[in-house]
């Protein structure tokens, strides 16, 4: 196998680093993300002449930025992963249903897909949050709703083209049930397209979570997320830039890495490139 390009390697290493931090990051700070120290408010990072106890500085309530970032990162990544998986499962299932039944079932599902695709999602999110209030469960479900239509549309397309292939017909002619055909033959053959869609959807969900939390509609205090920290820092950009810059940088680099890896994965799984590798 060829070695992946340097940018992809860097992106992969960075993603591994982010996940490691999300899991074990709290060893870097003795504080909890809610611990306040009103005597040490808005302290700059220690390496810029701030309080030596706070490596990346403190926010307006004197909370340690390291502790807050680790917690926020964990929250953001968890919400994004669960949202992505939820949306993928939901969309892929509907795509298969549409491709299998055709007729009015397909038309209905595709009509809903078009409906969702024609509305800005942030509008849907704002409406739902305004009506049902905010809870973590609802928020994750909301993240799952984002992007399902892309999976459904993509799945329907690739499944339709896969079932018209002679190998699928041959399996049908063997007497296989539809369940066997889809799970053993079609799914493995269309999986690569879906995995790529997954990696492209993930950064979008991270950004959506950030945007909603930034607007104060996402993760609510005392819990926190990268977007919420970013939103907090907005008011202090002139005198305490570090509050907004750290989470912003992490969001930017994480989504960028994810996109790079997704792109590389698409090239890697592309069947037309396969012959050159084998």
């Amino acid at each position: 196998m060829r070695r992946p390009p340097l940018t992809v390697l860097i992106a992969l290493i960075f993603l591994a680093f982010v996940i490691a931090i999300a899991i074990v990051g709290n060893v870097f700070s003795p504080y909890a993300h809610t611990d306040q120290n009103l005597l040490a408010r808005l302290k700059p990072p220690s390496f810029l002449g701030g309080d030596p106890r706070y490596l990346l500085g403190t926010d307006r309530l004197g909370r340690d930025m390291v502790a807050r970032l680790v917690f926020g990162l964990r929250m953001s990544v968890m919400v994004a992963i669960m949202g992505t998986v939820l949306g993928a499962l939901f969309g892929i299932m509907l795509g298969f249903v549409a491709a299998h039944f055709r007729g009015w079932v397909e038309e209905t599902i595709m009509a809903v897909v078009d409906f969702q695709a024609s509305l800005p999602f942030i509008l849907i999110a704002l409406t739902l949050l305004a009506f049902f209030g905010n809870s973590l469960t609802l928020f994750i479900i909301l993240m799952g709703l984002h992007g399902w239509e892309n999976y459904a549309r993509l799945t329907r397309g690739v499944v339709l083209s896969a079932i018209s292939q002679p190998y699928a017909q041959a399996v049908r002619a063997l007497g296989a049930s539809p369940l066997r055909l889809y799970s053993r033959h079609i799914l493995p053959n269309v999986a690569s397209a879906l995995i790529v869609q997954l990696t492209l959807n993930f950064p979008q969900i991270v950004l959506l979570e950030t945007a909603l939390s930034f607007l104060g509609l996402g993760i609510q205090p005392p819990s926190t997320s990268l977007g919420q920290i970013l939103g907090d820092g907005r008011d202090y950009l002139s005198n305490a830039w570090w509050i907004a810059v750290w989470p912003g940088t992490i969001i930017f680099l994480t989504t960028l890495s994810m996109s790079i890896v997704g792109d590389a994965l698409r090239d890697y799984l592309d069947p037309t490139l396969k012959r050159q590798r084998t």
Binding site: A170, V171, A173, G175, A176, H185, Q276, T278
Partner: protein, 540 residues
């Protein structure tokens, strides 16, 4: 190098093209040398992967980016085509050397009218006025025997048949009166009757215009019809070159002999008789498709299969012969119920197959199996081939261990190594994959095997092997076979009866001997006459 023989239009000397690293061999073509004389038709024959297309691409300067010409020279009009710059190249190709391709429908831009497509050549290369160009194009259309040139001028490619598209391609190629025409398998995608017409056209054009033609093909029948001289290629090298007479009558090289021996001939096998109950009895099968419908109208209904009866006995082979669009594949798909016929009754081994509900149908599918044309897409690329063969028996309730044992023994029966069980389809050649498909179909011990153009995509030598394998397996297992093909030569070799299909109906049904010697229908006679190499065959 200055050995450009007099009378030669193009001479290739020791042309080698290397393949990218990691390919199965180092050179696409190696030390290829031949001359094309003025007014001559040179046929380049070889199986897939022999380098015949690469040779053509090297002459045209159309080599794909990952191939590089290593050495040699291609002399044309005092210049070495391998060493001209791009400007000079453009002046030569298209103007003095033109090329036509295998897929005429894919080579024509679908959004242009065919007349404008041909006219474009004149617009790029000449300074003629619009009306002059139009007149030129119409003349060309007449020259390539296109019907109603005035009307066709304004048609789009999709409104033309495959044969007409190929004529338009030839017209484009001939527009600037090239000295050399390179034809890369131009008739492979066409029906036999159309192929015969195109071959005749090329012969006429050569006589009228004196164009030299390099004709690339895999079919020795076509070679027999067309060639003045023949070059046989194998693994990128020319193994034999000589006149029509020399190569076809007295081949020197063993490979040429083997290739010629493998060409299926129009001759009937020994007749066999079949008694006892019918395995398959299909009556009044009818299937129509709706086409051209839109929001306002329901469209036109086309009968793909119209009222067809088929009967097959145990151990018998029925050949279903017809041109594309004759409904033969649709009929097969109806019989195996991959699509449901509109009307008709199908009995398999005494069971009303056509009336079974979904669950009973899945169960009954074990009795009737199918092998498709394209062995590359007929196997799940992500399934081990052994698992693919074992899948059928497992679906029908056999335990995994037993099914896998059966798969291994079947691999052996179809001439593959049982150790290949754990390998994936892409590791096999086309012929090997077709063997795997046959093994998969036979794993269920079907009473009826449908072979839908099962050997059409294979090289002749492989084709002969697969036909032999099918005959051998049929003898051992006594399954009935419905053998669908467009090639009367293949059908005459393996079938006990041949049914000729046209426009959804079986118009004639008889033993191969009767079909060949006493065809009843004009259409059957037409088909027979169109078989390439027909007049060169020994009388049956």
């Amino acid at each position: 190098m200055n050995d450009h023989p007099p009378g030669a239009v193009i001479s290739l000397r020791d042309v080698s093209v290397s393949l990218p690293e990691g390919s199965d061999r180092k050179y696409a073509i190696r030390n290829v040398s031949f001359d094309l004389k003025a007014g001559e038709i040179l046929c380049v024959v070889g199986e897939s992967g022999s380098g015949k297309s690469v040779t053509a691409q090297a002459i045209m300067g159309l080599l794909p980016g990952n191939l590089r010409c290593e050495s040699g020279s291609i002399q044309f009009a005092g210049r070495d085509l391998l060493r001209v710059d791009d400007t000079e190249r453009r002046a030569i190709t298209g103007r003095q050397i033109a090329m036509i391709f295998q897929e005429p429908t894919a080579a024509l831009n679908p959004v242009f009218r065919v007349g404008d497509l041909v006219a474009e050549t004149f617009r790029i290369h000449t300074k003629l006025s619009g009306t002059q160009i139009r007149q030129k194009v119409l003349d060309l259309f007449r020259e390539v025997r296109l019907p109603e040139p005035e009307r066709l001028y304004n048609n789009y490619p999709h409104q033309l048949s495959g044969g007409q598209c190929q004529r338009v391609m030839i017209a484009t190629a001939l527009a600037l009166q090239p000295q050399v025409l390179i034809a890369d398998e131009p008739t492979t995608a066409l029906d036999v009757t159309t192929q015969a017409q195109i071959l005749k056209l090329l012969l006429d054009l050569r006589r009228e215009t004196g164009t030299s033609i390099i004709f690339i093909t895999h079919d020795f029948g076509v070679v027999a019809e067309l060639a003045d001289r023949v070059a046989v290629m194998r693994h990128g090298e020319v193994v034999e070159i000589g006149t029509h007479q020399q190569v076809l009558q007295h081949p020197q090289h063993d490979y040429t002999k083997a290739l010629i021996a493998a060409v299926p001939k129009l001759e009937a096998g020994a007749p066999r008789t079949f008694n006892g109950p019918a395995v398959l009895q299909a009556t009044h099968i009818r299937k129509s498709f709706r086409s051209g419908g839109n929001f306002f109208s329901r469209g036109r209904s086309v009968d793909a299969v119209a009222d067809v009866d088929v009967t097959l006995h145990r151990g018998e082979t029925l050949g279903l012969v017809g041109e594309s669009g004759s409904g033969k594949s649709t009929l097969a798909q109806c019989i195996i119920r991959l699509i449901d016929p509109n009307a008709g009754e199908i009995n398999i081994d005494g069971v009303r197959f056509s009336d079974l509900d979904k669950k009973a149908l899945r169960h009954a599918r074990a009795k009737i199996q199918i092998v498709f044309q394209d062995p590359y897409s007929a196997l799940d690329p992500r399934q081990k081939i052994g698992e693919a063969i074992a899948e059928g028996p497992m679906i029908h309730g056999m335990y995994g261990g037993e099914a896998r044992t059966r798969a291994r023994s079947l691999l052996k029966d179809v001439g593959l190594d049982p150790e290949a069980f754990d390998r994936y389809p892409h590791e096999f050649s086309g012929g090997q994959r077709q063997r795997i498909c046959i093994a998969r179909a036979l794993a269920l011990d079907p009473l009826l095997l449908i072979a839908d153009e099962a050997v059409s995509a294979l090289d002749v030598s492989i084709q002969a092997q697969i036909l032999e394998l099918l005959a051998k397996l049929q003898k051992e297992r006594a399954f009935a076979m419905l053998f669908i093909t467009h090639d009367l030569r293949v059908a005459s070799k393996i079938c006990d009866r041949i049914a000729v299909m046209r426009q959804g109906r079986i118009i004639e049904q008889a033993t191969p001997a009767d079909i060949l010697l006493h065809p009843q229908q004009d259409y059957t006679r037409e088909l027979l006459a169109a078989v390439p190499g027909a007049q060169h065959r020994e009388s049956a």
